[in-house]
């Protein structure tokens, strides 16, 4: 299976029906994407496929052939949203954070609070009550130089 992973061409040998989540975590060694439920309810496994947030626990790796997949690792370790999540306490225990960030990347340039809530309705957090997550994301969107989601992996 050939696809672009975090900007680099990748080939994986896992069984085509393997969950994309497992291929990323095991064959590709990228453990930033988490499993919280295996049912597409918690969103902790969210990655971008061709710019769209999806639950990687529900995707057979065969279906990402020829696509662009971005995981949390694709953002590096200095992305403003990452820094804001820590400083605004959008991340407490942190297990939902990679999924939250990936889902947030799909937001347009000037989201309302309702837009943010809707974009994250598929991501469960048990620690924060979500308010600090909104604060982190809205602050990110208020920053100058903010790029659109298509090139968010920077």
């Amino acid at each position: 299976m050939k696809f672009v992973l975090n900007g680099a061409g990748t080939e994986v040998k896992s069984h085509p029906m393997s969950r994309l989540l497992d291929v990323l975590r095991e064959e590709c060694g990228l453990t930033g994407t988490k499993e919280g439920c295996g049912e597409g309810e918690c969103g902790a496994c969210t990655v971008l496929v061709d710019g769209e947030p999806v639950c990687s626990c529900l995707i057979p790796v065969a279906q990402v052939e020829g696509t662009e997949v971005v995981t949390i690792e694709g953002l590096g370790d200095r992305h403003p949203l990452q820094i804001l999540f820590m400083n605004e306490v959008g991340a407490q225990c942190g297990i939902c954070t990679p999924g939250m960030i990936m889902a947030a990347l799909a937001l347009g340039p000037s989201p309302t609070l309702d837009d943010v809530k809707t974009a994250l309705a598929g991501n469960l957090c048990r620690c924060t009550g979500y308010s600090a997550i909104y604060r982190a994301i809205l602050k990110w969107r208020e920053m100058p130089d903010v790029t659109s989601s298509a090139s968010a992996a920077r």
């Binding site: 988490k34 439920c37 049912e39 918690c42 949390i72 820094i83 400083n87 306490v89 297990i95 620690c127």
Partner: protein, 704 residues
């Protein structure tokens, strides 16, 4: 600029947001194999035979015969086995352990177990096996009831609640050699690494060297307080038998079915009041369903009973509590630990008392709220750090409660209010018995904090570092926090009971003061260069004025209390009875925040869990096990379920806490459910139990 009182950058670094933080399932060891637990499929009976319907080559198989020490999880009692011998007491009780290199083969292994079934007991009201009884007596409640103007009675019920930490339980047990002896190291998602040590020492006998290392933990809420001893014991048994590292990670379904939950409770109130609103007698009966083994039920009952009279003054109180056995998976610690159950009951009961008296429930609370100098149900005289009226008045003012409540009459919106409190730290002599310790090590660049307190998202690393930084007078950046590894840190007691900042932080403050004296003005780097490293380790000394009698349940139950008042505005759909919480104002006093943003996070997160408890989270039990054991069917709040949150943090520094801080983690849990139900009541729905699902509300029309 001091670190304490400011939202400084967190000691967790950025790993949680970059994906580099390592949780249990992210970690592998060379040669690691996977473990799986074979569990009972009946709620009560005996195992007659076990047959392996698979090719056992390459498998490690462990049953109770492999236990060299004692087949008991050492907690309050030693009644719960790690593995069933013959008697099964609940569904999903662990019977066998399997391990294999290949997860598909592991998952495909079929084990046929023949049971002789017995009739299970599921109804706690029918159970005669009592784990613990408590009787709190103050004054003459019988006499006072007899002379009261009015007696108001009510029965209130709360259901199970499942923690739903987004990271399920998981550990890796790794065989290791220590000083020539074969031992094991446990790496895992745990709140209390030293609890696990204690349990494993009992399981293995004193001998194999054991250490427990906490990995980055994706949420606990009490669900990883005592339960990890079980999964760690299982992994360790497999590791020692196979000689390989063994990883056991529960999937969500197994975690929900098999692990602990909040104790369901039935609370009966009989209250004597005078026409002028004074509460003169409280007679309260608390029944909690403990499940099949004792685990922590006695302490949950204890805290629940102590808080059962609510934040109110009453000279004549009798609180009788029982926690009993049923053939269900044992219940255990969950944020709030008994108080959310009993404070739900008393706060809804207060609303009904007001209705019966024809009095405004705010006025009723103003008359009876505890003040400094009053005594609690256990006879504790409250000191200056008592803020019941302060939080009440601030909540009323901020929400314009009285006027808004009027304006909403006749609509499908309503306001509800709850007043609550929460004792910080272990009950009574608990902190004394814990003998918690904390250690500070001088390093070449600063200091290192070495405690057993775990970071589970609540900010342990950060708040401890802030306290040490300011107490020692060194830059916050020069303080590092050691990963809790039982071989390398002090036993600071469990990370529970809202004690981590207030109690362990206090020990650290004192360690820092002692270290500061020894440094005599030198910086850590200067001192280290000249004299080398040293450590300061101290034990917690609770305030000396605390007097508590465990036999009579009288005295100073807690060193201090946090206080809260929640006001929630809800809207109920007249067609579907769905409740939409629109706005929740949480006024909370907990001494003062060490890190304001982290503190606010505790209040917002605890409030979300409380709203789930109130409205959305229903555990459906069928044949003694959770039937809705998927996140699709056990519904916690999503972004769209949450109201706007307005958090007010009032300060009232507590002299016994570091920089005036009290415990905070659990207080927010006590308020939302009664506030929501009180709002429903004012819309005409006679709700007395939670979760208040639309189905329940539909059946509770007061006038239908």
């Amino acid at each position: 600029m001091p670190a304490v009182g400011n939202s400084v950058s967190r000691k967790d670094g950025i790993g949680k947001a970059t994906g580099s933080a390592r949780y249990a399932d992210d970690i592998t060891f060379p040669g690691m194999i996977h473990g799986r637990t074979i569990r009972s499929t009946i709620p009560r009976g005996r195992v007659k035979s076990i047959r392996f319907d698979f090719d056992t080559a390459g498998f490690t198989i462990v049953d109770y015969h492999d236990i060299i020490g004692r087949n008991s999880v050492d907690l309050i009692e030693k009644d719960q086995p790690f593995l069933v011998e013959t008697e099964v007491r609940h569904m999903a009780e662990p019977i066998l352990l399997l391990a294999h290199e290949n997860r598909e083969r592991l998952n495909a292994a079929r084990v046929e177990i023949e049971y002789e079934e017995e009739i299970p007991l599921f109804d706690p009201e029918q159970s005669s096996q009592v784990f613990k009884k408590i009787d709190i007596m103050k004054g003459d409640p019988a006499g006072a009831l007899a002379s009261a103007d009015l007696i108001v009675e009510g029965t209130y019920r709360t259901g199970h609640q499942e923690h739903v930490y987004i990271e399920p339980n998981g550990v890796i047990a790794v065989p290791e050699e220590v000083d020539g002896k074969s031992g094991v190291a446990i790496f895992g998602s745990v709140q209390c690494p030293f609890y696990v040590i204690k349990a494993l020492r009992c399981l293995f006998g004193a001998h194999p060297p054991i250490r427990v290392v906490q990995t980055e933990t994706g949420g606990g809420f009490g669900g990883k307080e005592e339960y990890p001893s079980m999964i760690a014991g299982h992994a360790a048994l497999l590791a020692l038998k196979s000689g390989r590292p063994v990883k056991i990670i529960y999937d969500r379904e197994e975690d929900m079915i098999a692990t602990t939950k909040r104790h369901p409770a039935i609370v009966r109130h009989r209250t004597g009041v005078m026409r002028d609103g004074r509460i003169v007698a409280m007679d309260i009966d608390v029944l909690m369903d403990g499940g099949a083994y004792v685990t922590l039920s006695p302490v949950v009952l204890s805290r629940g009973c102590i808080h059962a009279a609510g934040p109110y003054r009453c000279d004549n109180v009798n609180i009788r509590g029982r926690t009993v056995f049923t053939n269900t998976p044992p219940n255990g610690a969950f944020r709030g630990f008994g108080a959310p159950q009993t404070e739900f009951a008393v706060e809804v009961h207060m609303e009904r008392i007001a209705e019966a008296l024809g009095m405004d429930s705010v006025a009723l609370r103003r008359i009876n709220a505890l003040q400094s100098g009053d005594t609690t149900a256990t006879g504790q005289t409250l000191r200056e750090d008592t803020s019941a009226l302060t939080v009440l008045e601030e909540a009323i003012r901020r929400t314009d409660f009285l006027r808004r409540r009027e304006r909403l009459k006749g609509t499908n919106r309503a306001l509800g209010l709850s007043l609550f409190y929460h004792g910080a730290g272990f009950t009574g002599s608990g902190e004394l018995s814990l003998k918690s310790r904390a250690r500070l090590d001088l390093t070449p660049t600063g200091v290192r904090i070495a405690t057993g307190s775990t970071e589970i998202g609540q900010g342990t690393r950060t708040t401890h570092a802030q306290i040490v930084s300011d107490s020692l007078g060194i830059p916050y950046e020069d303080v590092e926090v050691a990963q809790p590894d039982t071989a390398r840190v002090a036993d600071s007691g469990p990370t529970v009971a809202s004690r981590t900042c207030m109690v362990v932080g206090k020990i650290l403050e004192e360690c820092a003061h002692e270290m500061k004296e020894r440094l005599k003005g030198a910086s850590p780097a200067e001192y280290h260069a000249r004299h080398g490293a040293f450590s300061v380790e101290r034990m917690y000394a609770p305030p000396d004025w605390i007097k508590w009698d465990d036999a009579t349940y009288r005295g100073d139950a807690y060193a201090t209390y946090g206080w809260g008042c929640d006001v929630v505005e809800i809207e109920v759909d007249p067609d579907t009875f769905e409740v939409r919480p629109l706005k929740l104002t949480a006024v909370q006093e907990f001494g003062r925040p060490i890190h304001p943003a982290l503190a606010q996070g505790q209040i917002e997160g605890g409030t979300a869990q409380g709203l789930g408890y109130a409205l959305l989270e229903r555990v459906v039990m069928r044949n003694g096990a959770m039937a809705n054991s998927q996140l699709t069917n056990y519904t916690i709040p999503t972004t769209l379920d949450m109201p706007e949150l307005d958090v007010v943090m009032l300060e009232n520094p507590y002299p016994g806490g570091p920089f005036g801080a009290k415990g905070l983690g659990e207080l927010p849990m006590d308020g939302p459910a009664p506030a929501v139900v009180n709002a429903l009541r004012s819309l005409g729905f006679d709700v007395r139990e939670i979760p208040a699902t639309p189905e329940l509300i539909a059946s509770c029309m007061a006038s239908a």
